[in-house]
C-alpha cells in the first residue's frame, strides 16, 4: 500500500514540474480525444501548440499572443492576490464587462471631441467600474456574511444583461442603422487603444498587464499588506491575533481584482473588441482563474500561464480554420489543464511513501 505524508515545505522542483506535467498530460489526453473524434491527433496538437509560434503563418499569429495574454494576465494578477488570502472572486468576468461599459461610456459621452485626456479618463472609469462591481460582493460579505463566491458569480449574469441592455438601448450606435452594439471605439482616434509597436501586438492593455505583474510582485513580497494576505490565507486565526482585519482584506482583494478586471475590459472595448455588444463578455474572466492557478498564484508564473492560455486560444482558432476542429475544444483543454494541475499538485504538498507492513 501507498500512503501520503504531508510535507512541511513544498520543494521548488515540484512547484515548477507540476504545471509542465499538467500541460503534457493535457496534450496526451487531448490527442486521445482528437483520435476518438476522428482527427489526426498529432496534427491537431501541433496546430494548437506549435503552429501559432513557429508555423507558416506565425508572423501573423505571434503578435496575437500578447493581445490575448494581456487581459488574461491583468485579470489573473488581481485574482491571485485574493486567492492567496482565501478570498474567492469568481466573478471577474462580470467586473471585466462592467469595466468595459463604464470605460466606453466616457468615450461615448465625449464623442466626437478629440483630446489626449480621453483614453486616460476611460482607463480610470474602466478600473472604477470593475472596482465597484467587485466591491458589491466584498461589502455584502463584510456586512452580512454573504458568500463572495456566489454573489460575485451572480453578478456575472447581471453584468451580461447590463451589456445586452446597453447594446440594444442607451449605448446603441445612432448611426448603426438599428443594429445592436455601440459605436466602434477603435475608429475613434482619441478613444482607441491601438497597437503601440507595429507587429508586436503590444497595446496599452499589455503595458498595464506588465505593470500589474511588477506591482503584485512588489505587493506580495515586499509590502506589509502582502504579508497580511499570505498570513490570512495560511493561518486565518493567527492572522487575526496579529491584528489583520479580515474585512479590510476582503475589501482590498475584491476591490483590487475588480479594478484590474475592469481595466482589462476597458482595454478590450477600446481595442480588439472595439464596441459594446450583447456578447461582450468573452470568458476571459473565467480563463484568468485557470491562469492564476497555472501560475501558482505567483506573478511570474501568471505571465507564463497567460501566454500558454493565449496560445491555446490562437491555436484553437487556427485548428478551427485548417482542421475544422470546433472552437469548444479550447475550452475543454483549459478545463482539463486545471484538473491535471490541481491533481498533480498533490506532489508538492505530500510525499508518497510505501507503507511498511507491521
Amino acid at each position: 500500500m501507498w500512503q501520503l505524508e504531508p510535507r512541511s515545505d513544498s520543494p521548488l522542483i515540484w512547484q515548477f514540474a507540476t504545471p509542465v506535467l499538467a500541460v503534457v498530460a493535457t496534450m496526451l489526453t487531448g490527442a486521445l480525444l482528437f483520435g476518438l473524434m476522428g482527427y489526426d491527433p498529432v496534427a491537431a496538437i501541433r496546430t494548437i501548440f506549435w503552429d501559432p509560434l513557429f508555423g507558416a503563418s506565425a508572423s501573423y499569429s505571434r503578435p496575437q499572443l500578447l493581445v490575448k495574454a494581456g487581459p488574461l494576465i491583468l485579470i489573473a494578477c488581481g485574482l491571485a492576490v485574493g486567492f492567496r488570502a482565501g478570498i474567492w472572486n469568481i466573478g471577474a468576468e462580470g467586473q471585466y464587462i462592467m469595466g468595459g461599459i463604464t470605460g466606453a461610456a466616457v468615450a461615448l459621452a465625449a464623442y466626437p471631441a478629440e483630446g489626449w485626456w480621453i483614453l486616460p479618463a476611460m482607463i480610470v472609469a474602466g478600473a472604477f467600474g470593475g472596482w465597484v462591481w467587485g466591491m458589491i460582493p466584498a461589502m455584502l460579505r463584510n456586512w452580512f456574511g454573504a458568500s463572495e463566491i456566489l454573489v460575485s458569480l451572480m453578478l456575472v449574469y447581471v453584468a451580461e444583461k447590463v451589456a445586452a441592455w446597453m447594446a440594444f438601448g442607451p449605448m446603441r450606435n445612432p448611426e448603426g442603422f438599428g443594429m445592436p452594439g455601440s459605436r466602434n471605439l477603435a475608429q475613434y482616434p482619441s478613444a482607441s487603444n491601438p497597437e503601440l509597436i507595429s507587429g508586436t501586438g503590444i497595446h496599452w492593455g499589455v503595458v498595464a498587464a506588465a505593470l500589474a505583474v511588477i506591482g503584485v510582485w512588489i505587493l506580495m513580497s515586499r509590502h506589509i499588506r502582502g504579508l497580511q494576505i499570505r498570513a490570512a490565507g495560511q493561518a486565518p486565526r493567527a492572522a487575526r491575533f496579529a491584528g489583520v482585519r479580515p474585512s479590510a482584506l476582503v475589501a482590498f482583494c475584491l476591490g483590487l481584482s475588480g479594478a484590474l478586471a475592469g481595466m482589462a475590459g476597458l482595454f478590450e472595448v477600446a481595442g480588439p473588441a472595439g464596441q459594446i455588444t450583447d456578447s461582450f463578455g468573452s470568458g476571459y474572466g473565467f480563463t484568468a482563474i485557470i491562469v492564476a492557478f497555472l501560475g501558482r498564484l505567483h506573478p511570474v508564473g501568471i505571465v507564463l500561464g497567460g501566454l500558454l492560455m493565449a496560445l491555446t486560444y490562437i491555436g484553437g482558432d487556427i485548428a478551427q480554420m485548417i482542421l475544422q476542429l470546433p472552437f469548444a475544444t479550447v475550452q475543454v483543454f483549459q478545463g482539463m489543464m486545471l484538473f491535471y494541475l490541481l491533481g498533480f499538485d498533490l506532489l508538492t504538498r505530500y510525499r508518497i511513501r510505501r507503507r511498511v507492513a507491521a
Binding site: Q3, L4, E5, P6, W88, I90, L140, W143, F144, G145, A146, S147, I149, L150, V151, L153, M154, L155, V156, Y157, V158, K161, V162, A164, W165, F168, G169, F286, I289, I290, F293, P326, A328, T329, V330, Q331, V332, F333, Q334, G335, M336, L338, F339, L342, G343, D345, L346, R349, Y350
Partner: protein
C-alpha cells in the same frame, strides 16, 4: 385574471431543475463536500439526456442517461478532491468550466434538433416534476430518519470524529457527490427535454449557481430547498410574464431578476444565520495518515 392553476403549474415547472440540482448538492454538502461544479454537471445532463432521448425517442431513457452522465462527470471532482486532496472550490470550478466546454464540443450536431415529446403525468404535470416533489420528503427522511443519513451527517459535521468511529469518510463522500451529480444531471435534462425542447450551448444559464445559493438559503434542509426552489421558480415566471405583458422596462433588465433575487436571498439569509447552519467540515480536505 390570472388562472391560479396554470400559474402554480408554471412555477412548479420552472422550479424543477433548481429543485433537483439543489437537493443533490444538499446531500453532498451535508456530507461535507462543497461542489461548485453543479452548473457543469447540469449542462452535461442537459446534453446527455437530450442526445439519449433523441436517439431512442424515449424521453424517460433520456433522464436515465442524464443521471448517469451527471454522476459520471461528478466522479472527476470526487476522485480529485477525495483521493488527490485538491481544493474543493478550485476543483468544482474546473468541473463547471470543463462541463461547459465538453458539451459545447459534443453538442454541435444536436443544434436545431427537436426533442421527442412526452405524455404529461397526473394533473397535467410532467412525471419528472412529480419525481422532484417526491425526492424532497425522501431526502428529508434519509437524512434525518435513517442510519445512513446519520453517518452522512456525522461525516459532514466532523470527518475526523467519524473516521475515528470507523466510518468510510471518502466512500460516503464519493457516493454523496455521485448522487449530487445524478440529480444535477436530471435537473439539466429537464430543461433540455421537458421545457425548452431543444439543445443550445450553455442553456442552463446559471441555474447550477442558483441551486448552490438555494442550499445556503435552505439552511441545509430538504424542505427549505423546496421552498427556495418555488420562490425562484416564481421570480422566473413573474419575470417572463412581465416581459410578455410588455411592461415598460427593457427585457434585459427584467431578465436580471432571478440573479438579483438570488443575491438578495443570500444576503437576508446570511445576515440572519451568519453561516452557523453549515456542516462543520464543509469544504475541508480530509486526510489521515492511517
Amino acid at each position: 385574471m390570472i388562472d391560479i392553476t396554470t400559474l402554480i403549474m408554471t412555477i412548479l415547472s420552472a422550479s424543477t431543475p433548481l429543485l433537483f440540482a439543489a437537493l443533490g448538492e444538499l446531500m453532498a454538502e451535508r456530507a461535507g463536500v462543497l461542489n461548485l461544479g453543479v452548473e457543469g454537471m447540469m449542462i452535461t445532463g442537459a446534453l446527455a439526456g437530450f442526445a439519449a432521448a433523441h436517439a431512442t425517442g424515449n424521453p424517460l431513457l433520456g433522464f436515465v442517461a442524464a443521471a448517469l452522465a451527471g454522476a459520471a462527470i461528478s466522479m472527476i471532482f470526487g476522485v480529485l478532491t477525495q483521493f488527490l486532496l485538491t481544493n474543493q472550490v478550485a476543483t468544482g470550478l474546473a468541473l463547471t468550466l470543463f462541463g461547459l466546454g465538453l458539451t459545447a464540443l459534443f453538442g454541435k450536431p444536436y443544434e436545431g434538433v427537436k426533442a421527442p415529446s412526452m405524455a404529461a403525468g397526473p394533473l397535467g404535470l410532467h412525471w419528472i416534476i412529480w419525481l422532484g416533489l417526491l425526492m424532497v420528503p425522501l431526502s428529508w427522511w434519509f437524512l434525518n430518519r435513517t442510519r445512513g443519513g446519520l453517518i452522512l451527517r456525522g461525516i459532514g459535521e466532523n470527518h475526523d470524529a467519524a473516521h475515528a468511529l470507523g466510518h468510510k469518510v471518502r466512500l460516503v463522500r464519493l457516493a454523496a457527490v455521485a448522487f449530487g451529480g445524478a440529480m444535477a444531471g436530471i435537473g439539466g435534462a429537464y430543461i433540455s427535454i421537458a421545457t425548452v425542447l431543444q439543445w443550445t450551448e450553455g442553456m442552463t444559464a446559471g441555474a447550477g449557481w442558483i441551486a448552490l445559493a438555494l442550499v445556503v438559503f435552505s439552511g441545509w434542509r430538504a424542505f427549505g430547498v423546496m421552498a427556495g426552489a418555488w420562490l425562484f421558480g416564481g421570480v422566473t415566471v413573474m419575470q417572463l410574464r412581465l416581459q410578455a405583458a410588455g411592461v415598460n422596462l427593457p427585457v434585459q433588465l427584467l431578465a436580471m431578476a432571478p440573479y438579483l433575487a438570488t443575491i438578495i436571498a443570500l444576503v437576508v439569509i446570511s445576515a440572519r444565520r451568519r453561516g452557523s447552519a453549515a456542516p462543520g467540515s464543509l469544504g475541508r480536505i480530509f486526510h489521515t495518515t492511517n
